[in-house]
Symmetry: C2
Subunit: 406 residues, 2 copies
Amino acid sequence: MSVMIDIIPDGGVTSPLGFSAGATYAGIKKQSRDALDLSILFSEIPCVTAGAFTTNKIKAAPVILDKQKLDKTGHAQAVVINSGCANACTGELGMTAATATADLAAKLLGVASDMVMVASTGVIGVQLPLDKVQTGLANIHLSSQGGSDLTRAIMTTDTRPKKIAVTVKTSGTIFTIGGTCKGAGMIHPDMATMLCFLTTDALVECDFLKATLDDAIAASFNMISVDGDTSTNDTVLLMANGLAGNEAISSGSHLAAAFKQALNKVCLFLAKCIARDGEGATRLIEVVVNGAKNLKDARLIVRTITSSPLVKTAVHGCDPNWGRIIAAAGRSGAELVSEKTHVYIGEMCLMKNGLPLAFDKKAASSELNKEEVVLRVELNIGGDSATGWGCDLSEEYVLINSEYTT
Amino acid sequence: MSVMIDIIPDGGVTSPLGFSAGATYAGIKKQSRDALDLSILFSEIPCVTAGAFTTNKIKAAPVILDKQKLDKTGHAQAVVINSGCANACTGELGMTAATATADLAAKLLGVASDMVMVASTGVIGVQLPLDKVQTGLANIHLSSQGGSDLTRAIMTTDTRPKKIAVTVKTSGTIFTIGGTCKGAGMIHPDMATMLCFLTTDALVECDFLKATLDDAIAASFNMISVDGDTSTNDTVLLMANGLAGNEAISSGSHLAAAFKQALNKVCLFLAKCIARDGEGATRLIEVVVNGAKNLKDARLIVRTITSSPLVKTAVHGCDPNWGRIIAAAGRSGAELVSEKTHVYIGEMCLMKNGLPLAFDKKAASSELNKEEVVLRVELNIGGDSATGWGCDLSEEYVLINSEYTT
């Protein structure tokens, strides 16, 4: 079956049929009046919804609440998102605020409270100002053009909005997937929160939606590293309202592969946006590992390399110090055999079978000066591969993250 | 039994009876003529010797060689150490160079080759210049005052020499433990190598020596973090020549506790020297975790906090952003219950039972401006504790590690 996946110019979460969004400045962020800090994503009808949440043992109130609701119903119709306050380490009062936020929005939107998810990003240990949320919610105007406002409203230290939408065309069917995310740029007082909201008008069976989302996240958001800190608030929500009128997609159905492919594309695009926009980052680093014993090992090595401060600073300084790459691979815990391993910067092989090769240092340095730097390790001990993304570590990162608050 | 442990002023590896050392500039480091880069540590008689080596799967040639020799004999009489070249990722040629270095030294010293250990630190992927090593070895003059020269000769980016010696007096017995180390300051082209050489004139039974060393390392060198990168060359060697004439110390003997205590003290002192001298570091960070379910969990949380870039930059900026501390604890993988957890900066409690406390931000900021910063997490779910050390992350770290080499 032929599948066409096309990017919609300026598309986002409101590109799929039946979704609307809006945002306002509620005064939660301590910023100028034109900053947006509260937003709503809404679907005309309830959506089959899949979620993925932080693995941090300290979970913010909205994460706890969303998990409870999703476990109960597997559906959602709206999400309320605030920036400027993480509502984490806020105890019972924080849970009350998260619950009340959903309840208030549910009332305004005319849907059941269980159908409203919440998400927060910002300072830890500060209570959510419920009065401001209440006033703010009433000010939000929902529109099918509101996706861009929502994208802006969830940004904290992001320097660029991050959004995409694709249409998927197969014989007789067309559906759309949209998405937006924020993070993981971190600046005091924010945490490394990654929030991502995905929408589709495809009709998708519940279990398949969750499994497909998990797979897409494993290969995208879980393969990026800015500084290794996992937030208390990380959340990905995928809402499918079925308004495209397609036959329900499940693991056996003929549209399964197309849906997977399109969702992977959307997640990968958004994940790379985050890595590229890492705090103080000047370059995107793509790390490829081939020939691993298994996928777990391949991903482990990728993640160890993308999060190594020595690798990140070497890339920043355009220093082809490949010893740092192989040393990171070696300490990752994954299987490797030095005598079989090759290391590449771009297409230049610097280490072959565990031994250094003579190379043109100037050319290797130029390779590291590109906007997208590719580092590759060939293990030659198995058939599994993985790719991940990170960014260089600059003085700017330290400056941003050590800013005085007192 | 009363035990007195006293620090010997300006003591080091040659403080215990029967040890001598010397160093020279062999031209391995690309530095000025007065830099030392090759040294020998020697004992008059063979020593019961315990070693601990890097867990990196990529192991430098000297690490492989030392392990082979120690497994075979459990004894050593000398160590040859070079800086400026790691002899890692150097294949068979590298193994030949390491073996030849030991053989050359053995001949000069009049001992068996098996009795000579080797250790290297410096650039990865560069062959050890054996001719320079040969000439250098012949130039080394051994003396019982040579400990300081050895300490200088193993330094790479260290800004301070790191050495200590203690005498241990109990009724009727006196013995000495000395030690020196280098690392984990890293600058291109060096790796994060930690080398440590420990000497004692106590007579110690082999298995007890190894077990005591492993315990001491677990609570000291394994509890420091500068940037999380583990080198291909990390080595700790402990040589015991028995010249103090004490009754052999084994796990049951009356001197066992005193020996343990003294060795722990030496290792802890040296480990803290390394953390304090981390590249670009301006402050030592001590992280204490109490009330953990078990020791493994306590250490896991300590290590996650000491290696968190967000915590390290917050300390650098004197920013009492305690959310970063609890978030790091939460993502460590260790058991914790938010509602039972307290977080302290110095003696100031900022989070109690998972909830933020009002606190004097100026005072907390001053606490973080001290030369030694103490961060503490009270878990209140068990009886185990751990302490570890790290340093702040400064712009200087990035500058040092992104230096051009081309």
